[in-house]
């Protein structure tokens, strides 16, 4: 099942090469839809009470090098897989409605990108994760470079893309070295394994953790991008084709945050605790810098791009609160942000078609004859600023709750980010939809084509706003297990048999479900225990 989830997009992409040009887009959309169907059935079969991985596949891939082809779902990735499938379907359909140059190649790359991204989310082998993490770049390199727009000023599309690739690969190649070092140090002369679960059980020494931590952190922070490592972002965002940018911003940035949860926290607990404040400072800087830039930019794409920097800062802060509620919120917020930013870029594409510009100063008044578009945009904007009632509000609340209890000073700074998000989200909405309508800008209602793409995405936002427990309920258990190793001061393997929200068992927030479960120690026989009494 999980295999078909992973390879369906690529299979569709390759078969699409043999179809006529005009069918390529629809075939790809069908592929994305089938993938979404598989993802939904996986989610339906997901057991929120079970511990550990579900739907696993584990095959020796390169026995000589200790690499396994091992996939699995748990609370950390199941909703990110859903998010990927949903956004890809939306973006592929949006692109299929429009004429593309060289459509075969475009949609092959789109679907290859989906496979690679899903692979990064479901990989349970450290090296397989690194492989998919790097592989994601290849299709996006082509998509940005070959279908991107050369701007009048600034680098050409291919130069901007090259910059992005080099930036991101700087991190991920170091991550490759780090991954290999982790496995070899942990194996200690024995059989090398890259299984994340195995490695988490045998954490490497604190000294090694320190440098390996930064190799991984570099890869993930560049991907997000975090403050100071975001240099590739403005140029790449300006160049990218918008449907591609929707999935790029909506999903790829999350792979970085997810990497912290999947790899860094369980594998390098001691270093995580040690560098907690450093990462928090980076996260806060991202929030402040991203927000400030978002409300000074005039290019609509960059408003979206910098707001992502700020939002990803929030998510990182939530993870590095090193508390279950912070990370619960972070996962919820990853999904929320993906669901918000992808429609945002699709709306940007729609607005750009009507106004012929992507400059905020030249836009305005587009709500005049387009109430439905305005309503959809308003919902997206309000969700972006985390209006109470939206799932984003719950997500940020969880994150701040975790942060308050972990590091109160950081929480106070982070709160200002929320205030600023209100400013840039509303500014974006107002400047484009309201104000006086300049000459030459058409206010047109969205057609059924764009509506078909946009409305379901907005419906997802509303659905999550009504029922965020859908996610929280399923992630909580995995999050607690992940956090457990890092929230202990030392890197000792777990001795306690109390599992569940151990980190916040005593003081979990009002919203966080407290659950303490007791697991029998190995070899425990209840009859003997009763007899002893």
């Amino acid at each position: 099942m999980i295999n078909s989830l992973l390879w369906t997009p690529l299979a569709f992409g390759l078969l699409g090469l043999f179809l006529p040009r005009r069918l390529a887009g629809w075939w790809a959309t069908l592929g994305a839809a089938v993938t979404l169907g598989i993802a939904i059935s996986l989610l339906a079969g997901f057991d929120s009470g079970a511990s550990g991985l579900q739907d696993t596949v584990d095959v020796n891939w390169i026995p000589g090098l200790g690499v396994d082809y091992s996939l699995g779902l748990d609370g950390l990735n199941v909703f990110l897989v859903m998010l990927t499938a949903v956004l890809w379907l939306g973006a592929t359909a949006f692109a299929a409605f429009r004429e593309q140059e060289r459509p075969h190649l475009f949609f092959l790359m789109m679907l290859l990108a989906e496979t690679a991204t899903l692979g990064a989310f479901v990989a349970q082998d450290l090296l397989l994760f690194v492989l998919f993490f790097d592989l994601m770049l290849v299709p996006f390199y082509f998509l940005f470079g070959a279908w991107g727009t050369d701007r009048e000023y600034g680098p050409t599309a291919s130069a901007a893309t090259l910059k992005m690739i080099i930036y991101t690969l700087v991190g991920s190649l170091l991550m490759l070295v780090g991954a290999i070092a982790t496995a070899i140090i942990a194996a200690d002369g024995g059989q090398i394994t890259f299984s994340i679960a195995e490695l988490a059980n045998h954490p490497v020494g604190t000294g090694s953790q320190r440098w390996i931590f930064w190799f991984f952190a570099a890869a993930f922070l560049v991907k997000m991008p975090a403050f100071l490592l975001h240099g590739w972002m403005p140029d790449a965002y300006r160049a990218a084709p918008l449907p591609v940018l929707a999935v790029f911003s909506g999903v790829l940035a999350k792979v970085g945050a997810y990497g912290f949860l999947r790899v860094v926290l369980p594998l390098f607990p001691a270093a995580t605790v040690q560098f907690q404040e450093v990462v928090l400072v980076i996260a806060l800087a991202s929030i402040l810098y991203g927000s400030v830039m978002a409300f000074t930019q005039t290019n609509v794409r960059l408003v979206g791009g910098y707001s992502s920097v700020a939002q990803l800062g929030f998510i990182t802060a939530g993870i590095f609160a090193l508390r279950a509620d912070g990370s619960d919120g972070a996962i919820l917020q990853m999904v929320n942000h993906g669901l918000v930013v992808a429609p945002l870029f699709i709306i940007v594409a729609i607005l750009a078609e009507r106004s012929g510009t992507e400059d905020l100063r030249e836009m305005g008044g587009m709500a005049l004859r387009a109430p439905v578009l305005a309503a959809l945009f308003l919902i997206v904007a309000l969700a972006t600023l985390a209006m109470p009632g939206s799932a984003n509000f719950i997500g940020e609340f969880y994150i701040l709750n975790g942060l308050f209890q972990a590091k109160i000073v950081f929480a106070f700074v982070a709160i200002t980010g929320i205030a600023m998000s209100a400013y840039y989200a509303l500014r974006l909405y107002q400047r484009t939809m309201h104000n006086r309508k300049p000459e030459g800008i058409a206010s047109r209602e969205i057609g059924w084509r764009d509506g078909v793409v946009l409305a379901p995405l907005v419906a997802c936002i509303l659905g999550l706003a009504l029922y965020p427990q859908l996610i929280l309920h399923r992630t909580d258990r995995s999050v607690s297990e992940t956090i457990a190793s890092a929230s202990r001061p030392s890197a000792e393997p777990p001795k306690s048999h109390l599992r569940g929200s151990t980190a916040s068992a005593l003081d979990c927030g009002r919203l966080a479900p407290c659950r303490v479960t007791w697991e029998a120690p190995p070899g425990f026989d209840p009859r003997k225990a009763v007899a002893r009494q």
Binding site: G64, L65, L131, L162, I166
Partner: protein, 503 residues
């Protein structure tokens, strides 16, 4: 005292016999008019027969000619890489000007002669066979580099290679004499026991010998700072010969590098490991930085070859069985990646007036997708992106290096790879992301490409099966072994296990 002729294991030396017979037949074929044009075909038959005989010897290590040679899995693996590359170069040489200039018989006989040197070199067990083999390998190549008599660059390339190569050989020979003087043996195993037993460990005589042989080998494998000839020679030589040199020479020289350092000089490992590690790091940096901004594809591939030699040297620095296997794996993968790239370069040289300039591949994605894909895959693989054999090769090398406690060199490989993206992706961008519409059609060159004498000789070269076929095949292998690497890993593991002294 009477001389006893050494026992000859004819099965073991059968690949060498086949090659030698092939050389004679190919050379004679040029003399008789009716069979004058059968040189390439006969060369291919010879190479196929040699490959078959080599595979027959797989997993059957034997000492040959009184221990002067030894055919083991490492030798077979490296020889197979050399033979495959040579067969490929023969295909690329079809209708190549250089082959016509030199005479089909002579050209192919020389190439087979060089292959013979490589096979011998990969089997060499003592200093004498080592030196004879390396000369057998080099001398035909000096001639082949200069075989295009009508092009000044080709002659320059041949002369340059001759001079630099001779200096390398002389240095090597000088170093060997020191080592013989210090250890009292020419035999690799004998040198090791000589060094260990006679208490000359750390003796300046031995150290000077190691230094000089390392320099000699560094010339042959184009390791910085002894690499300066590489870009010039690669650019000037006829492209099929460049493709052959880039992979096969490197493979054979690294095979003897492994044997000499990991067997003969094993007792001195603590001295040479840090030195070679530094050389590898310098090579990675120099090669990658040199390749930046090169407009000539052959020159770029030359510098990239320097960088790759630095990565491969890491396999020796690691000094473990995994390192040797990684080296063989990387060389095999490198053969596929390079073949794909060079086949496309040859095709475009014949199709366009740009020679091997990067403009020759502009908008190739639209014009000739079947050529663009192999070159794209090759560039991505050389850059070490996943789903290609290049990624697995780097993974293998890094794993061996970390295991051998040289993590810092692994970091250098990672850093070098980052730099390399800038020039590999430049080629990909030229193919797929060139200016669209009108501008995509390149006009006549103001000054013809990198090579003023380059003329389009065959506007349909990209469709010829003998060029597109090998390119697609090599690209397919690059991807296949990136996704299913286990067969190649097993091949490399067997080869790595041939050096019994390591674990």
């Amino acid at each position: 005292m009477n001389f006893v002729a050494p026992h000859l294991d004819y099965a073991g030396i059968s690949p060498i016999i086949a090659l030698t017979a092939g050389i004679v037949v190919v050379l004679l074929s040029a003399v008789f008019r009716p069979v004058q044009r059968t040189g390439p075909g006969l060369a291919l038959v010879t190479l196929a027969a040699t490959a078959g005989l080599l595979i027959w010897q797989w997993h059957d290590p034997t000492d040959l000619v009184a221990g002067a040679l030894r055919i083991d899995d490492l030798a077979v693996a490296i020889s197979l890489i050399a033979v495959t590359t040579a067969a490929f170069a023969v295909l690329l040489s079809l209708r190549e000007e250089a082959a016509e200039q030199a005479g089909l018989g002579e050209y192919h006989a020389l190439m087979l002669g060089s292959v013979l040197g490589m096979v011998l070199l990969s089997e060499a067990q003592n200093l004498v066979t080592f030196f004879i083999a390396i000369e057998t390998l080099s001398i035909p190549l000096y001639i082949l580099c200069g075989s295009n008599l009508l092009r000044e660059h080709s002659l320059e390339s041949g002369l340059k290679y001759l001079i630099v190569g001779s200096i390398g050989s002389a240095t090597l020979l000088y170093g060997m004499s020191f080592i013989y003087g210090g250890s009292g043996s020419t035999d690799f195993a004998g040198i090791a026991s000589g060094i260990a037993e006679e208490g000359v460990l750390g003796d300046p005589l031995i150290l000077v010998g190691i230094g000089l042989t390392a320099v000699g080998l560094a010339f042959k494998t184009s390791i910085a700072p002894f690499h300066q000839w590489t870009p010039d020679v690669y650019q000037g030589a006829p492209t099929p010969i460049t493709s052959f040199m880039a992979v096969a020479t490197k493979a054979a020289a690294f095979a003897v590098f492994v044997r000499f350092f990991e067997v003969a000089l094993l007792p001195q490992a603590d001295e040479w490991r840090p030195a070679l590690a530094v050389l590898a790091a310098i090579t990675i940096v120099v090669g990658n930085i040199g390749a930046l901004g090169q407009d000539s594809l052959k020159r770029m591939l030359g510098y990239s070859g320097v960088a790759q030699a630095g990565y491969i040297l890491g396999g020796i620095v690691a000094l473990n069985a995994a390192g040797t296997s990684a080296l063989v794996f990387y060389l095999a993968g490198y053969a596929f990646m390079n073949m794909a790239a060079f086949a496309v370069v040859v095709a475009r040289e014949r199709e366009t007036p740009y020679g091997d300039d990067i403009r020759a591949v502009r908008s190739l994605g639209l014009e000739r997708p079947l050529l663009a894909w192999p070159l794209t895959i090759s560039m991505l693989a050389l850059a070490g992106l996943p789903a290609t054999v290049g990624f697995i090769g780097k993974l293998y090398l890094i794993e061996a290096l970390v295991e051998g406690d040289y993590t810092w060199l692994a970091v250098f490989i990672a850093v070098g790879t980052m730099i390399s993206l800038a020039y590999y992706l430049r080629v990909v961008a030229a193919m797929w992301m060139g200016p669209r519409g009108e501008a995509a059609q390149p006009g006549p060159p103001a000054i013809a490409g990198a090579d003023p004498e380059a003329d389009p000789v065959d506007p349909e070269a990209g469709r010829r099966l003998y060029l597109a076929g090998p390119a697609l095949l090599a690209a397919a292998a690059t991807v296949f072994f990136g996704i299913v690497p286990q067969p190649l890993v097993k091949f490399a593991e067997a080869a790595g296990a041939a050096i019994g002294s390591l674990h």
